[in-house]
């Protein structure tokens, strides 16, 4: 589904990613774990075409999308949820949901499906997006890309800063998304959370892939990883 080859990313003179190779198969849920500053966000942004100072190739379903604009990548089925959730204050909840164009009518969630799954969004549909709580905003951000029919989600720390019940809820959503066959690349610091949803894990360290583990290995080495991540 997604193939990242030899990705280098730079911020001025500083290199944030060093020849990163990441592959995600269709229907797979893969996490990226790594300490703060390891380059996880930079990797997702590069896949989305938001980071211009990059080398390497990004392939989506066999098509080289390296040269494409962000909106063209989105229209090919990439759904990005940025780390601060990216909810618009000047748009209502419903406008936040309907802003992105539907890219695949076949798999797109309809507005009523979204509202059935997230009743709180229906209740607050006319309110400005940022008047929602943090957890509600996260659900809105995920629902927003589901409504486009994105075939692959790029989620940047969806559980960060949320109460345990909300994290549970996000986990349920991810499992449902997975059951529908949607592919997910998930940045996650929460190792326990990652182990319950993902099939495979990349450990990123200082801008390079340090390990590529299946979920069994990952779970077995959980305490070691926790220590490594310093959590």
């Amino acid at each position: 589904m997604l193939e990242v080859r030899g990705l280098d990313a730079f911020y001025g003179d500083a290199q944030a990613l060093h020849g990163v190779d990441v592959t995600v198969a269709p229907g797979e849920v893969v996490t990226l774990v790594g300490r703060n500053g390891a380059g996880k966000t930079t990797l997702l942004r590069s896949v989305m075409g938001l980071h211009s100072d990059v080398r390497g190739t990004v392939t989506l379903d066999g098509e080289d999308i390296t040269g494409l604009h962000p909106h063209q990548r989105a229209r090919r089925g990439l759904g990005w949820v940025q780390d601060d959730r990216g909810i618009y204050a000047s748009l209502s909840v419903e406008e936040n949901l309907t802003l992105p164009p539907v890219t695949d009518p076949g798999s797109a969630w309809s507005l009523s499906q979204v509202y059935d799954a997230f009743p709180v969004l229906a209740d607050r549909r006319r309110a400005p997006g940022t008047t929602l709580s943090g957890g509600e905003q996260q659900m809105l951000a995920v629902a927003r890309v589901l409504r486009t029919g994105a075939r692959m989600l790029l989620l940047d720390e969806p559980s960060e800063g949320l109460a345990p019940v909300i994290v549970q809820r996000i986990r349920d959503i991810l499992l449902e998304v997975k059951a529908r066959g949607t592919t997910v690349l998930l940045v996650e610091q929460n190792v326990k959370f990652a182990a319950t949803v993902a099939d495979r894990h990349y450990v990123l360290a200082e801008g390079s892939v340090a390990a590529d583990l299946d979920n069994a290995e990952f779970t077995a080495r959980q305490s070691e990883l926790l220590e490594y991540l310093g959590i």
């Binding site: 938001l50 909106h71 940025q82 990216g86 618009y88 204050a89 748009l91 802003l99 992105p100 486009t148």
Partner: protein, 289 residues
């Protein structure tokens, strides 16, 4: 009492020009990230085009209100395609310099062609009189300018809040990068938005044509006040542009009435106070500041 009402109307009428033009400036800044320094020159051009079309084709004021914004829209589209778009990927400062240069160019071209003394404009009869309300006698022109610009502001407001393009303008004003990453082709809207903003400046110019001197320099002081307006309202804020436009008009009118020497200074003192208390402007969002 009567006097105060009269100054209020005068201020709101003066503010109407600022509100319309600042609206265009705010929308352009929101979507393109470009501070259009040539906005004052486009206001001037709106008035000049109205005067020239009246002279050449006998186009009356009412038709000019329709025709000139269309002409200015086309002008804006050409400028955006020809010049602004080439610099858009660079530091916004380059477009500031470009539009500043454009101002000098436009002003001098108009001076060269039509001189410095100003172009004549025939006032429509309907606007020359006064409206009498009991003891109140209000200049028809001021009432018209205020009502017309309120109408235009309301129409733009509906466009911004009720249509998909308005939603895209709001979204890309707030989070340009994310809006693109969500699949919205913002670039498609850049050219028409620029043209639309220029058309609003031109419309303000047409409104000014019957009662203000139409000279090449009429936009020079206008643009300075306009910057104070957008800073007070909050750069990129559409509501802020309109509200601040009227506030500044009022400050100007009352200043001229009671302390003529201080009237311009008062606007900039107000601007400084607003920056001190709310750096992002009255209606600006902190994160965009």
């Amino acid at each position: 009492m009567n006097e105060i009402l009269q100054y209020t109307l005068q201020g709101l009428a003066a503010g109407s020009f600022y509100a319309l033009a600042a609206l265009g400036l705010a929308i352009i800044f929101g979507v393109l990230g470009v501070v259009n320094f040539a906005h004052g020159a486009c206001y001037m051009l709106g008035a000049v085009v109205a005067a020239v079309l009246q002279d050449l084709l006998g186009l009356n004021f009412w038709l000019a209100l329709l025709v000139v914004p269309v002409v200015m829209f086309v002008f804006g589209v050409v400028i955006e395609r020809l010049l602004v778009s080439r610099l858009i990927a660079l530091d916004p400062l380059y477009n500031f310099l470009l539009t500043f240069g454009l101002t000098l160019l436009l002003v001098d071209l108009v001076k060269r062609q039509y001189g410095v003394s100003g172009l004549p404009y025939t006032r429509p009869d309907l606007l020359t009189g006064q409206i009498t309300l009991g003891a109140l006698r209000l200049p028809t022109y001021q009432v018209f300018v205020l009502a017309f610009s309120l109408l235009v502001c309301a129409a733009v407001w509906l466009l911004m809040t009720r249509t998909r393009i308005g939603m895209i303008v709001r979204a890309s004003t707030e989070k340009s990068e994310l809006t693109r990453a969500l699949g919205v082709d913002v670039n498609r809207w850049v050219t028409p938005v620029f043209g639309f903003g220029i058309a609003l400046a031109g419309l303000a110019g047409v409104l000014a044509a019957p009662f203000r001197a139409i000279t090449a320099d009429m936009g020079s002081s206008f643009i300075i006040i306009l910057f104070a307006v957008v800073v007070i309202g909050g750069l990129g804020s559409i509501v802020g542009a309109v509200v601040a436009g009227f506030i500044v008009g009022l400050v100007e009118a009352f200043g001229q009435a009671y302390a003529p020497a201080l009237s311009q200074i008062a606007i900039f003192v107000l601007m400084a106070l607003v920056i001190l208390v709310r750096p992002a402007g009255l209606f600006g969002r902190e994160e965009n500041a």
